[in-house]
């Protein structure tokens, strides 16, 4: 299944320099607005888990910084592996898979509003790719999380919270 993700990711065309610069100039404003909308959702706690609001805010700042790095030198393997890491780590900490659908839809709406039509057309496929592949990322990380819980060392009681 990961191979299929990599194959699909290889088909994405990196945005042109002008679109990347536009994203670079606007992501902070978009992230702030997106975080405000996410935090206002009545089902926030259900999406991110109890006490994970700060982690969700941090993710909304780190996510566009990662996308900017990715757009500048597109590496499909980096895209796939990083998203898998995010799914593993955030699901382990209590985020539900519905969080990604909700948050990515917020991002897509805001990007469409704030970016020029040209930049939007080049950047949207990456976000759409994430949305349509949520079930694959979920299925792959289901197995990782099951392995992890069965291998949990006895001395690691009092486990963690957010990063």
């Amino acid at each position: 299944m990961k191979d299929a993700l990599l194959t699909n990711a290889q088909k994405l065309e990196p945005p042109a320099e002008t679109a990347i610069r536009e994203f670079e100039n606007k992501w902070e404003q978009i992230a702030a607005e997106g975080t405000r909308l996410l935090m206002a959702r009545p089902d926030l706690e259900k999406l991110v888990g109890t006490g994970n609001e700060q982690m969700a805010e941090d993710n909304n700042r780190n996510f566009p910084r990662f996308m900017l790095s990715l757009f500048s030198d597109y590496q499909p393997a980096v895209f796939v592996e990083t998203v898998l890491w995010v799914f593993r780590a955030y699901r382990s900490h209590g985020f539900q898979t519905t969080y990604w659908a909700a948050n990515l839809n917020i991002w897509v709406d805001l990007l469409q509003k704030k970016l020029s039509a040209d930049a939007w057309q080049q950047i949207y496929p990456f976000y759409n790719w994430l949305i349509v592949n949520i079930p694959k990322f979920t299925a792959i990380t289901d197995a990782d999380l099951a392995d992890s819980s069965s291998n949990r060392p006895d001395h690691l009681h009092g486990a963690g919270t957010q990063k």
């Binding site: 780190n62 590496q75 992890s148 001395h155 486990a159 919270t161 990063k163």
Partner: protein, 214 residues
């Protein structure tokens, strides 16, 4: 040599925050004349990677991850008498290296270990620490005139900061050798380095040792 049992004992003590017992293990290994790069790679680095994995799976808290990092940085200090003793007994090579984390990069243990490995191999190494602003790094390079500069980056979203640093160094010091490394390259990104002449990617402490020796 670090046995599996000793590593597990150390990891358990580290996760319990037992700095004193961890220090005793390290001291014992030093008295047994363990190779310093083995100590770094097979005890410090391996345990830090495992702690990162444990955070990923929510088996430890951020507080514990930070505690482990702080303990490990303290344990590096235990190694220094041995490191400088080794350095002084071996031939100094008169070369100087400046190691720094990229701007916005706050994970510094790896860079610190790299600086130590250079010192161990007879270099005069200077470690500038985390999140070094580019202009300050350039001024330091201008003052110190090193033979080599190393940049460390741990998270992929700091690649633009790394690239800015590389461009600034290359733009100001045309013939200065540069090396880069860090966890940010785990899944790719080494192609980025090829955009900067005279810049090499070093994937591990072992590879670093080989390169220094070559």
């Amino acid at each position: 040599m670090i046995t599996g049992a000793l590593y597990q004992q150390y990891l358990t003590l580290l996760l319990d925050g037992n700095r004193r017992a961890c220090a005793q293990i390290v001291q014992q290994l030093l008295e047994e004349d363990i190779e310093i790069q083995t100590l770094y790679a097979d005890l410090f680095q391996k345990s830090l990677y495992e702690v990162g994995r444990l955070w990923e799976f929510n088996q430890i808290s951020v507080a514990k991850e930070h505690l482990v990092t702080a303990i490990t940085e303290g344990l590096l200090n235990l190694v220094y008498p041995r490191l400088f003793e080794k350095t002084s007994s071996d031939s100094q090579n008169e070369k100087k290296v400046v190691i720094s984390c990229a701007a916005n990069e706050f994970h510094q243990v790896g860079g610190k270990m790299v600086a130590d490995i250079f010192e161990l191999n007879g270099w005069d190494s200077q470690f500038l620490g985390a999140n070094t602003p580019v202009d300050h790094m350039l001024a330091h390079i201008q003052d110190e005139k090193p033979d080599l500069v190393g940049l460390s980056v741990s998270v992929y979203f700091n690649m633009p900061a790394l690239k800015s640093g590389l461009a600034a160094i290359r733009g100001n010091f045309l013939h200065l050798d540069i090396m880069v490394g860090g966890q940010a390259f785990n899944w790719g990104g080494t192609e980025i380095i090829k955009q900067y002449a005279g810049t090499a990617y070093v994937p591990s402490l072992d590879r670093l040792t080989s390169l220094i020796a070559a």
